[in-house]
Every structure is written in structure tokens, then in C-alpha cells.
Symmetry: C2
Subunit: 300 residues, 2 copies
């Protein structure tokens, strides 16, 4: 029924700032589907990233100048670490086209909104978004066009985000293959703290705990990692700067979830010390049930 050649793209010009894992996956998807955008610009302040994006031929233009690159864009996507959002937004917003949409892909939303809002003007609509997809790899070579397929993209509008802009960003992410959902900002940050940020924190931590063991034991950890450690630490290979920013930018929610988790872990330790078999079995069974729910939910 649709005719790709004559259909109007969602955005005529899209500028992606930060063509890393997420940004380069967006660019790859657009390249395969011209109904998303006719023209793309990729911007990065690292020459080696620009070089790779040029080599990969996934953007119509590659630039290291964010100001120049946003001038003609109908949509600017900030796909950079959440700690870098403020500086870049401050720099580009005055140069954006009237009526253009600014959106982001950050994993924390309250902090990104707080960082960007002071610099917004009435003719730029900001649509905070968070595609819940990723791998433990990073950089433009790590991206792939199906990264967002059947993943969620959570959109957390502010009180000043226009409904039409939200609708366009929803359409954009659906074209990326994602399912979209509108969420309250604080609620988003709490959910991400437990499903993503805390697991990453624990994975980084256990790797450090293993690393600080006696030399002999540490080398054996590597030998025998197949017994749980390996799966458990896959996510610990993720990008350091991105994750440092996430931890600092979703501080309250992460510290709350870590406190709850620590209480639960201490209760388990106490049960092990005092041989409370019922408590231990009950805890393990509840863990299994959550896993079963995940499988029923087709997430595992």
C-alpha cells in the first residue's frame, strides 16, 4: 500500500550528534529506510569517530562542527553520554532551525531534562527519549540497523513538550523497529535504576572484587569463569564514560535501589549464617518466578 518513493519522510534532515553504538545504529537504519529521513549528518568531536563513520558510509555528511551541522536539521538527536548533554545543547540550540525537534537517547531522563531545559527556546521542541537497547560494545563500528528491533523506546515528555513533536518522535522510533511508550520522568529513572543501572553497577563491582583477590585465585577466576561469573559480567564490558555519567545522573534512584538490594543481600547472608533453609529456598524460588515471568514475557 505504501509507496516509499513518493511518501514524505518523517524528517527531511536528521543530524545525529555522537555516532557511537546508538547513533550509528540510527544512521544505519535510516540508510535502509528512506521513509525516515532523506539526509543525515553525523557529528563527533573525535576525529577517529568521524573517520570511521566516513569509511562506513552511513551518513550523507560527517562533521566535527555541531553548530554548522544543526542549521538545516528538522531533527537533532543527541546520542552522547548524559554528562555531555548540557554543553552540547547549550552550544547548538541557538543555531537550530525554527520549529525543529531536539531529542536525545540518554539512559537517565530527569538529569538530561534539567540540563537542557534552561537553554531551550520557544521555537525548539525538546522530546526526551530513551531507546532501551544496547550491547556491551561501543563506537560507530559496533552499531547495526536492527539494534532497536522489538526493543522499547521510552519517551518522557516535559510539561512544555508539544504533542505533535512527541507523535513524530514516536513514529521515528517505530520506524527504527522499536515499541514506544510514554512515561513519567521520575518513574522512568526508577525503573531504569533497577533493570539496567543497578545490574551494571553490580557487574562492575564483582569484577573488581575478583580482581582484588590474591593473585593465584584471580587467575583461576579467569579459568573457571564459565560457572556463572561469565554471564554475570558480560555487561561489565560497557563504556566507562557513558556509565560514569549514568551513575552520577541517576544518583538518587540508583542509591535507593542499591540500598534495597544490599538489605536483601544482607538478609540472605544472615539466613546462610544461621542456616535458615526456609528463607533461602523461598528467596531462590521467588528469583526463579521472576525469571519465569521474563520468559513468559518473551524478554528472555
Amino acid at each position: 500500500m505504501t509507496n516509499k518513493i513518493t511518501s514524505i519522510p518523517i524528517f527531511k534532515n536528521i543530524t545525529v550528534i555522537g555516532p557511537g553504538l546508538i547513533g550509528s545504529s540510527i544512521l544505519r537504519r535510516i540508510q535502509k529506510d528512506p521513509t525516515i529521513s532523506e539526509y543525515t549528518v553525523a557529528v563527533d568531536n573525535h576525529p577517529e569517530v568521524c573517520y570511521r563513520v566516513k569509511k562506513l558510509k552511513i551518513a550523507n555528511k560527517v562533521s566535527s562542527d555541531p553548530v554548522e551541522s544543526v542549521k538545516n536539521a528538522d531533527c537533532v538527536i543527541l546520542a552522547i553520554p548524559v554528562g555531555a548533554m548540557q554543553e552540547v545543547a547549550k552550544q547548538i540550540i541557538p543555531h537550530m532551525k525554527k520549529g525543529a525537534i531536539l531529542t536525545d537517547t540518554g539512559s537517565t531522563k530527569a538529569s538530561v531534562i534539567a540540563a537542557i531545559t534552561p537553554y531551550l527556546t520557544s521555537d525548539i521542541s525538546f522530546v526526551p527519549a530513551h531507546p532501551m537497547a544496547g550491547t556491551e560494545f561501543s563506537g560507530p563500528d559496533a552499531g547495526f540497523e536492527s539494534l532497536f528491533e522489538n526493543r522499547w523506546c521510552l519517551i518522557t515528555p516535559t510539561t512544555s513538550t508539544g504533542k505533535e513533536s512527541v507523535y513524530k518522535i514516536e513514529r521515528f522510533w517505530q520506524a527504527m523497529g522499536a515499541n514506544t511508550r510514554i512515561l513519567d520522568i521520575r518513574h522512568h529513572d526508577k525503573i531504569c535504576a533497577i533493570v539496567s543501572h543497578l545490574p551494571h553497577l553490580l557487574a562492575f563491582t564483582i569484577c573488581n572484587t575478583a580482581d582484588s583477590l590474591a593473585d593465584e585465585t584471580r587467575s583461576e577466576v579467569l579459568d573457571y569463569a564459565a560457572s556463572g561469573f561469565r554471564d554475570f559480567t558480560r555487561i561489565a564490558a560497557s563504556d566507562p564514560i557513558m556509565w560514569k555519567d549514568i551513575f552520577l545522573n541517576n544518583r538518587e534512584a540508583i542509591l535507593e535501589m542499591l540500598a534495597r538490594f544490599t538489605e536483601d543481600a544482607q538478609a540472605m547472608a544472615k539466613a546462610i549464617r544461621w542456616q535458615d533453609e526456609d528463607y533461602i529456598v523461598k528467596t531462590i524460588k521467588k528469583g526463579r518466578e521472576i525469571r519465569k515471568s521474563l520468559i513468559n514475557n518473551k524478554q528472555a
Copy 2:
């Protein structure tokens, strides 16, 4: 060079007590490789397990009577939860053939050795062993013949374990596809606490933390689990009785590793609270390095 028909099997008769994930994988491997054993008996006290093993046709004989089943065995393998070892060993040892080998597949070694040693007689050689392989599934249907392929099997002889018995059990596990290594008992328990027991404890715990969140958030945890939680909790689907036993039977080492881990997690929490960027980045980078070592070690 080898002639399977005329070669002498490692053991003429093997009895596997507990044909679950591990036990049924052993039986399947023997079935494919007659140089391991000529005749197998599977024993279980659950009628439904016996029924499944009969249906699967992976043992020459299936029985619910351990005493009768060990009489002709040259090797008896205890593939049962570590908490059940003592009772079964006490029951079967007096009925075992003189010169036969008793071995086990338990994930904790000091406790299993302490449980079995009082019942040993001078004509039975006990070779404690631990194949480091498994999945999150359990029961006879979950097993497969390649489960031990390229995995480690750690052997922890006691002062009274004969060298020849150790050698035979090593040959047995190598025939299962595993690499074998002789390890000190306490050292084994410490390594397993960090590479396997603690990751499982943390996975069970975070599932419970998620489960205790407000109803709305909990259901969203299931929706958005792809962002780390899912991988992180895969191992939480493991068998409750087996894991309760492991936690109780490797108590000291697990509590020590959990205490070290908790200190490291609290240090991370403090760094997040006080925005100590250097500490956070350093911790994440160390985590990544351990992961990289795993990849270089071909364990990931």
C-alpha cells in the same frame, strides 16, 4: 588407532545416583562412547525422574533402590544436591563392591568430604570431583552429552584418596570432554564462591529486590528487562534445593566473598553520592579489563 570394540572401558559398571542435569549428561555421554563404561545404572528416589530416564533410554537399568544398584558398580557417582550426600553415602558404602570408586559432582568440596569421610571403609576409594558445567535448567530432560565439553572438572583428593583412583576419575572426566585439574579442597571452595556461588546469590537477590518493588514498577521490570536485568538474572532460574545446599555447605567462603563484594559496592555507592568521577571510572575500567581477560582466555 583405537578399536572401540576391543578396548577395555574405564569402568565396567557405573552407577549414577541422581540422573538430573549433570547425572543424565554423564549417562548420555557414556551411551555415545562405550569406552567409558559397558553398563550403567541410574538411581533416583523420585518416581517421575525414574520414569523420564526410562523413557529417554539413557541407562541400561533404572532403579529407585540405591543399595541394590551399587552392588555391582566399579564406580558410583553421586550427582545429587550436596546436602543429600551424607545420607546416601551412609546408605550405600556398606554395600559397595570391594575396590570400587566412589565419586561425586558436588559444587562444594570441604563439606561433601566432611559428610562422607566418616562412612568410608578402607576398601572404597573416594575421589571428590566437581565438573564446572551446568545450565539454568534441571532434571533428566535438561541433560545433553556435550555438557562437559571443554569445561573444567576439578578434582580435590583427600589425604586418603589413592593416586590410581584419582587417575581413573581424571580419565573418566577427560572422556566426558572435560579438562581436569587437581586442586586443594579449601582453595576449590574459595574459587567457586567467587566465580559461581556469589554470582548466583546476587542474581537471586536482585530478582527479589525487583519483586518487592511497587506493583506498577515490578510489572515494568518485566517489560524492560532487556537492558541488563535479563542477562544478569539468567542464572537465577537454577534449582532451589541444589542452591540452598550449596549456600549452606560453602557458608564461610560465600559469606567472606559477599562481605568483600558488599564493601566494594558500598565504596561505589559512596563515590556516586560524592561524585568521585575518578573512582567510578577506575572501577568501571577495571571491570572491563577483567572481562577482556575472560575473552582472551576464551571463556566468554
